[in-house]
Structures are given as structure tokens and as C-alpha cells.
């Protein structure tokens, strides 16, 4: 009996037991697809979080007013929680802060945008042209804000892609006119699409010159002219620490604060966000992989069960085949092929289902699924291994019985 004849015999034997073979394949298939999809979901979330955070700008430091450490005891003389253009200017100093590359001060206010009959509300950020550099954004249509516009307090605006779409549809917004809280602005450019990062939507914003924003939207009072935040980029990823120190020292000095823990500002490096997020999403992936492993185990136990029962049921057949002249090797070969056929079928269908799911599911649940090769290979190996071991080992034991002992078993 050669391999082809054994394969034919194995195939027929599987076909005769259609329901059982089908259930075995189903068990393998679901286990494998579950692993591929859950691990893919975890990896997808991880990838999305880190790409969103790194799109903030890899060397970014965000300076916000107010202290995180001591909410009540703020050091200071009336200017508590206040960041000013003067602060931003000082940070831009090449000599005082050599490791700081760019500084983008921001005054942010929510505003109503109108163009023709379209209305939309979005955060309007008064800032400088380097904003795009610091925040790792690109102007994809039209031009960025310019120094000249800054100097002349021009009424010009660069739109996030969502704002552009809401107001102007799919047409280019460049050259259009819109009102910000009733004040007309010329649209000069549109930013690239960045997606959401954490809570804030990076595509729903409007950039205008900070001088214009101070002029139009700054509320009178003790905080007039104060900044919402200052974005600072370090010269390289290796100088983030130094840039942090320089910014911290300069601001403490400018704000006349002697005790560092009483600082009235907070500096947050993007890298800490990144590493926190990475830890969280790694934990998520591990959790999902654990769930997937349990799914595989449950599927595997189902497969084991079916295999064990079906081999035990066929000990008599093994005895008869031996009585007619089958060697133990030939008996094993047939069971090996049967298990392998189920394994291959279950594996291929499981991987297919996993891949199709990885394409279709994101459309339904708006979650990214990154298929991981390790998960694909690992789950197929584990599932097929379970099938092989539990399909072949009992057959091996039966093939070692004398034909009569095997024939007598019930």
C-alpha cells in the first residue's frame, strides 16, 4: 500500500464520517480564526495608539499652565497658571535653551465657523508657522501661515481636514472665505489628515496667526494675552531630557519660582505619553492573546475529544486491518494522514476566516486589526499539533495490540 492509496483510504474514511470530520475542522478553524483576530485586534490597537501619539511629533514637549503636583499651593504673585508670549520668546532663545529647536505658542478658543449656509464649530488655535513643524503636520493644499501674515495680523486660516470637509465638502477650501465668530477669514491652506489621538481630534481645528487671535479673541482681564499651551520640540530625540531641563529652569526663573515643586506650569514629554500608552496597549494585547489561547485550548480539547473517540471506536478496524496484513506502520500512516488532512483543512479555513475577518470586521467595529504572522503560524501549529497527537497516539497504541486483542475491543 503506497502513500497515494493510503491517502485515498484516509480521505474516504473521513468522508464516511462527514459530521465528525466537519466538527473537527470547525473546532480547529474557530480556534485558529479566534487567535488571529484577537491577537490582531490587540496589535491593531497598539499600532494605532503609538502611531497616533508619535504623530504628535516625536520630540514634542507640551507646556501647559497650572501645576499637576500641587493644585492648591501655587507659588506666585498674581500670575498663577499663566503662560505668556514672553515665556515663549524666552524659550526660543538659542543661547538660553540650545536644545530647544522650535517653539509654538498657542491661544485656543472654541468658535463658530460659517461659510454660506454651512455651520460648524471647532477649536481655533492662534499660533505661529512653526506649529506644523513642532506638531509633525503638513499643509497638503495651499500654504502654511507666514511670518508676514503674523506681523500684519492677517485674517487668514489653515483648516483641519474635517473642518474643510464640513464647510466646503470635497472641494478645495483654498481661496474660500469663512467667518470665525462673525469675522471673515481667507482660507489659505489645509492640513493633512492625522486621525484622533487620545481625546482630541487632530483634524477638527483651525489655525490662525497668534497675533490675530490675541487681537480678536483675547478676553480682557488679568489673564488677557495668556497662552493656552506652548508646544516645544527638542533638537533630537536624544536631547528631549536636556530640552525639558532648559524649559523648566527658564520658566521657573521667569515666573520667579524658587521651589521647583511649586511650579505653576506642567511640562509633558510626548515620550512619556508614548511609553505609558505602549505599556497599556501591550497589556491589552497580552490580555487578548490570553483570551485567544483559551479559545484555542477549548477548540483543541474539542478536537482531542473527537479524535480520541473516533480512534477508540476504530480499534476493531485496526485489528482487522492488521489481521489482513497491514503493518503497524501502515495503520499509523493512515491515521496520520487522516489527522493531517483535518489539520490542513482546518488550518487553511481558519487562516482564511481570520484574514477575511481582519478585513471585514474593521469596517463594522471601526477597530484596526493587524494580522500577526506569529499568531497565524503559532495557532496553526498548536491546532494541527493537537489534532496529530490525539489522532495518532491512540492509533499507535491500538496498532501495537495483537490483531485479536484489537478485534475483541468494543
Amino acid at each position: 500500500m503506497n502513500w497515494a492509496e493510503t491517502a485515498r483510504s484516509a480521505f474516504e474514511s473521513l468522508r464516511e464520517r462527514r459530521a465528525r470530520s466537519g466538527l473537527t475542522v470547525l473546532g480547529l478553524l474557530i480556534g485558529i480564526a479566534a487567535v488571529i483576530l484577537t491577537v490582531g485586534l490587540g496589535e491593531g490597537a497598539q499600532a494605532r495608539v503609538s502611531s497616533a501619539i508619535s504623530s504628535l511629533g516625536p520630540n514634542l514637549l507640551t507646556i501647559t499652565p497650572g501645576s499637576t503636583t500641587t493644585g492648591l499651593v501655587r507659588g506666585g504673585l498674581g500670575t498663577a497658571g499663566d503662560l505668556t508670549l514672553a515665556d515663549a520668546q524666552a524659550l526660543s532663545s538659542r543661547s538660553d535653551a540650545p536644545d530647544i529647536a522650535h517653539v509654538a505658542p498657542v491661544i485656543q478658543t472654541g468658535a463658530t465657523l460659517t461659510s454660506g449656509s454651512s455651520n460648524w464649530s471647532a477649536p481655533v488655535m492662534g499660533t505661529t508657522p512653526v506649529f506644523t513643524t513642532v506638531r509633525n503636520r503638513q499643509v497638503v493644499v495651499g500654504t502654511n501661515l507666514t511670518a508676514a501674515e503674523l506681523a500684519s495680523q492677517a485674517h487668514v486660516a489653515v483648516l483641519g481636514s474635517e473642518v474643510s470637509q464640513e464647510l466646503f465638502g470635497f472641494a478645495s477650501p483654498v481661496g474660500q472665505v469663512m467667518d470665525i465668530d462673525g469675522v471673515p477669514f481667507n482660507v489659505v491652506g489645509e492640513l493633512n489628515t492625522a486621525g484622533a489621538s487620545g481625546a482630541s481630534n487632530e483634524d477638527n481645528l483651525v489655525l490662525i496667526p497668534i497675533s490675530t487671535a490675541l487681537d480678536l479673541f483675547s478676553k480682557p482681564g488679568p489673564y488677557a494675552g495668556s497662552l493656552s499651551e506652548i508646544f516645544v520640540s527638542a533638537t533630537s530625540s536624544s536631547t528631549i531630557g536636556a530640552a525639558y531641563e532648559e524649559a523648566n529652569d527658564l520658566l521657573l526663573q521667569l515666573h520667579s519660582i524658587t521651589i521647583p515643586s511649586a511650579a505653576d506650569f506642567t511640562i509633558t514629554p510626548a515620550s512619556t505619553l508614548l511609553s505609558t500608552a505602549a505599556t497599556v496597549s501591550k497589556a491589552l494585547t497580552t490580555l487578548l492573546a490570553g483570551i485567544a489561547a483559551i479559545a484555542l485550548l477549548v477548540g483543541g480539547i474539542g478536537v482531542m475529544n473527537i479524535m480520541l473517540v473516533s480512534v477508540t471506536e476504530r480499534v476493531k478496524e485496526i485489528g482487522l486491518r492488521k489481521a489482513l496484513g497491514a503493518t503497524p506502520g501502515l495503520v499509523l500512516r493512515q491515521f496520520l494522514l487522516e489527522a493531517a488532512m483535518l489539520g490542513v483543512l482546518g488550518g487553511v479555513l481558519g487562516v482564511l476566516l481570520g484574514l477575511v475577518g481582519a478585513v471585514v470586521l474593521p469596517l463594522l467595529i471601526s477597530q484596526q486589526i493587524d494580522v500577526s504572522l506569529v499568531a497565524v503560524v503559532g495557532s496553526v501549529v498548536v491546532a494541527a499539533g493537537i489534532g496529530l497527537v490525539f489522532g495518532v497516539y491512540p492509533a499507535y497504541r491500538a496498532a501495537r495490540l495483537s490483531p485479536i486483542d484489537a478485534l475483541r475491543s468494543e
Partner: protein, 248 residues
């Protein structure tokens, strides 16, 4: 395994009268159940069957006939004693050699038929040919058809065992034993489950095999079946109690 090739008698009277021993049992015992209750199924059997003989084994139920037959068919091994098949001690054969003996030298008909229920009649008969490595498939089919024709089942080749009567199933089992053209045919109560007219047909097949020169050993508990053989061995409680030619 071809020390003795052809199942037919050699020509020449001297050989015809005294052919060599085909099967030889020396003080063979078989004990079942190695616990507190031991069953001594065989208690020292000495038996020589020569080439071309037609032997009937008789005895009461439980006397050890099937046990003896399984040992003769290399399906089980003696607890003690020696079994020589065609002059060779089978206890030295490994699994592969044993498989070859079962496949090529011996055709075995079981008391309970033991057909694979999911295979058609001819596919059941094909099995020993498959393990013999006979190729191509069409040759196996042809051979299986011939064997089924010889037992009068040419019109039932595609039927499954469940679609056949007891006598027809028994004949499929006999065709399977014949398929690989073995020198030795061992049958455990081949007529046990059959009505007497069916039994006659089956016995005619065994007589034909004997006439072809094969060594035939069959078990029966029906005296008229035993009397159609050439030699009668009686067994009681695991021992041979009488052994001699059948008087016509």
C-alpha cells in the same frame, strides 16, 4: 516468505502421500487473564497439519477452538510452547514479517465475519490485496471480482455488508480470505450462522479450495460438516482428545 511457494500438490505419489508439515504446534498453551481468575483455554496442544490437508476441528463451546485457530492464523501468540509455520518458529518473526505472513500465506475467515461496514463487498475483498501491494487498482478490482464470483456473489459486489444477508456476508469474508490466493485457509465456524442449504454452498467452496491443493482447517460443531472433511480433530478443555481420518 516463499520457502513454500505453490499451494498445489506436487506431482508424484510419494510426495502426495507424505507432504511436509505446514502447521505444527508443540505443547502450546494459552492462558487468559493474568489476574486472579486465569482461564486455561489451551493446555498443551500438539498438532501437525500437512500441506494440502483438509482438517475439521470439533469441540464443545468454550473448549478452545477459536483460541487455537487464532494462534494458527498468527493473530495471537501462545502463552507457552512453539508454533512452527512452514517449518519456521513464528515467535521470532517481527511485526512486519507477521503482517506479511497474515497477508500472503493465510486466509482467515472469522466466526463473526468482521467486514468493514462502510466499504462495499468488493472494497472489503480488496483490502488484503491493498496490503499485498498489488497494483494498479483495476488489477485489484479484477481479482476481487473473481473471488466474489467464486463464492457466487458476482451480482452483489457494490453492496455494503449491511445490505447483505448473513450467508452473503460470510461469503464476502470467504472471498476476502481467498483474494490473495493463500496456501492456508483457516475458517472459524464458517457455517455457524447459516441455514443448511447456504451451509452446503459454503462447504462446497471449501471442498473446491481443498481440491485446488490448499491447506484447509475449519472449525465446526456440526457433525455432518465435520464428516465432509478428510481428518477430524476433537478438542476438549484445551486438549486434543482424538485425531484421525474421517471414515467415508
Amino acid at each position: 516468505m516463499s520457502s513454500i511457494g505453490h499451494p498445489r500438490h506436487q506431482s508424484g505419489l510419494a510426495l502426495e502421500e507424505m507432504p511436509g508439515p505446514m502447521l505444527e504446534l508443540r505443547e502450546v498453551t494459552k492462558t487468559y487473564g493474568m489476574g486472579e481468575v486465569e482461564v486455561h483455554a489451551l493446555r498443551g496442544i500438539n498438532l501437525v497439519v500437512r500441506e494440502g490437508e483438509y482438517v475439521a476441528i470439533m469441540g464443545q463451546s468454550g473448549s478452545g477452538k477459536s483460541t487455537l485457530m487464532h494462534i494458527l492464523g498468527c493473530l495471537d501468540v501462545p502463552s507457552t510452547g512453539t508454533y512452527l509455520l512452514e517449518g519456521r518458529d513464528v515467535s521470532v518473526l517481527n511485526e512486519i514479517e507477521l503482517a506479511e505472513v497474515r497477508n500472503r500465506r493465510i486466509g482467515f475467515v472469522f466466526q463473526q465475519f468482521h467486514l468493514l461496514p462502510r466499504l462495499s463487498a468488493w472494497r472489503n475483498v480488496e483490502l488484503p490485496l491493498l496490503y499485498a501491494g498489488r497494483r494498479p487498482r483495476s488489477a485489484r478490482r479484477e481479482r476481487a471480482m473473481a473471488a466474489l464470483g467464486a463464492v457466487g456473489l458476482a451480482d452483489r459486489v457494490e453492496h455494503r455488508p449491511t445490505e447483505l444477508s448473513g450467508g452473503q456476508q460470510q461469503r464476502v469474508a470467504i472471498a476476502r480470505a481467498l483474494a490473495s490466493n493463500p496456501a492456508i485457509v483457516l475458517a472459524d465456524e464458517p457455517t455457524g450462522n447459516l441455514a443448511s442449504d447456504q451451509a452446503d454452498e459454503i462447504l462446497a467452496i471449501f471442498e473446491a479450495m481443498h481440491n485446488q491443493g490448499r491447506t484447509v482447517v475449519l472449525i465446526t460443531h456440526e457433525p455432518d460438516v465435520g464428516e465432509r472433511a478428510k481428518r477430524l480433530v476433537r478438542i476438549k478443555d484445551g486438549l486434543v482428545v482424538s485425531d484421525g481420518p474421517v471414515r467415508p
